[in-house]
Symmetry: C2
Subunit: 307 residues, 2 copies
């Protein structure tokens, strides 16, 4: 039961020789969600050995080039590989026009259907849900309409204790009911309470993606207690003015949000290309929120199961 | 007096974990010419430590996505870096419409001028010339209008022999004349013949870029005797049928062209992503044309000065 984030790109605006443009892949129980798609994303997907066919949902935070210019090539590759499954893109509505015009010129025909889900960046809403995970938007504060995304695992069932199935001769037909909290009646009519049969369920794991954004306390109730928060840190704290001007965040901003939202772990990235070394940014963030890590291309962040 | 080709990408259609999409940079005396611009080109430019500011001319062979999807990000980066020099793009006319629409949406303003030079893919014509180099088109045979490009160094002047300036007390004002083949009259009226003063000039160096294309002998007179030929080899020779069908070339096709055109060195690339190992392709080409090398991302091919 995987819950694993792979960073594909961690640079802002322009790539560097070490950092590609923004894209993350979240693997929740072998469902792969692509979040943003900067230039080079398909190359990073290959390098990180993620199978193209596993990606059915792409979440686009906003329509700045450094978050979407990889879509053209990725869709072209899906087409060349004769993809036939639907592709869902969650995005500002304008992307539908841009991609449609683009595909009309560049692809003679397209082997799969693209289903666009238009986002409303003004409120937090549920935009995807299946039996394992749900995705909600996070309204962010940027120069253009921008959404973050929160991925939350659906509640786990209780776990059967060791050997109880044999010990009480529980038929398969009863197992789901017990995992959902039910007691079990044995042949002589005695009731075995659920507590004796099961352990508490694992906690639902969660990941929030917040970029691009200026410091905004409005997001705190939405991302409260997430296990993993990615918050952009385009600048170090001495560039507060520049951050404000461009609607980006500093190391301090990201760490303050992480602290106030009581998250488990903070990953910062979307670094300005001016930083060859981001250790200063990380250390500034850690001063306020010690469990901070820098986003590094190709690195994975796993959220383990806990009760 | 550099004449150096850098391969930025060598895969066709889709990138692999080791091969980026097509782009070459030719450095002729510190003028940097970019040829094609597949997705990820700006990242490869950075990795190969080529300065963005040195690139003033971009040559686009044809409007398939794997040759141009890097333009969006590259132009965006030029803009973010506040480029002010003109950028010249040599291309099929339709790219002007595509890029104009694109820039209108994605760039609020653009800090430099883009000058489009429309290509006629039906004939070979001179499309660029300065005091060091000229560029001519090569009509290729592909599914859509496609041009190759031949870069030729302008003729070198003769080289002064060692110590002649001191020995004959040649004034600076006479040097250009002597390098152009003139004799020198010394104070007593005696004539020193040019042969005594100079060595023959270095040969002009040349590079031809031919992709994407089916086998076409029509290009032979245009690329005759070039020092460096890049010819696509999307397929190994056992895929002749597939090559014909898609208007691409095999190892054998490329080598035959190189041989018939009597080129100095053949570089093959634009490999189908099906080939994890291209050694078979190289060995097939070498059977016909021994001086063949595979295009490898980040590798350089230098043409040395010879007389």
């Amino acid at each position: 039961m995987t819950f694993e984030l792979t960073i594909l790109g961690s640079s802002s605006a322009v790539p560097t020789s070490k950092r590609n443009l923004t894209a993350h892949v979240l693997n929740v129980h072998e469902r792969f969600f692509l979040v943003d798609c900067g230039e080079g994303t398909q190359i990073q997907i290959r390098k990180n050995k993620i199978r193209f066919g596993k990606i059915d949902h792409i979440f686009i935070s906003h329509l700045h080039g450094d978050h979407i210019f990889g879509l053209f090539g990725l869709i072209s590759t899906f087409n060349l590989l004769n993809r036939d499954k639907d592709l869902h893109i969650y995005t500002h509505p304008e992307l539908e026009n841009i991609l449609s015009r683009h595909l009309e010129y560049f692809e003679r025909s397209i082997s799969f259907k693209i289903i666009y889900h238009h986002l409303n960046p003004k409120l937090s809403e549920l935009i995807f849900e299946d039996n394992k995970v749900k995705v909600e938007t996070i309204p962010l504060k940027h120069r253009i309409p921008t959404c973050g995304f929160k991925f939350t695992e659906k509640p786990h069932l209780r776990n059967l204790r060791k050997n109880v199935v044999q010990d009480y001769k529980i038929p398969i037909s009863k197992i789901q009911d017990i995992k959902e909290g039910g007691d079990f009646i044995i042949n002589n009519g005695d009731v075995v309470l659920n507590d004796k049969l099961t352990l508490p369920p694992y906690k639902s794991r969660s990941y929030a993606y917040c970029t691009d954004t200026a410091y905004s306390e409005k997001i705190i109730p939405i991302i409260k207690n997430v296990d993993l928060l990615f918050h952009e840190t385009t600048f170090a704290k001495n560039m507060k003015r520049q951050a404000k001007l461009t609607y980006h965040s500093t190391s301090e901003d990201a760490a303050k949000i992480a602290k106030k939202a009581n998250v488990g772990k903070l990953i910062v990235g979307h670094f300005s290309a001016r930083y060859k070394d981001v250790s200063q940014i990380i250390s500034e963030a850690r001063d306020l929120f010690p469990n901070t890590y820098s986003a590094e291309d190709g690195e994975k962040h796993i959220v383990e199961l806990t009760r």
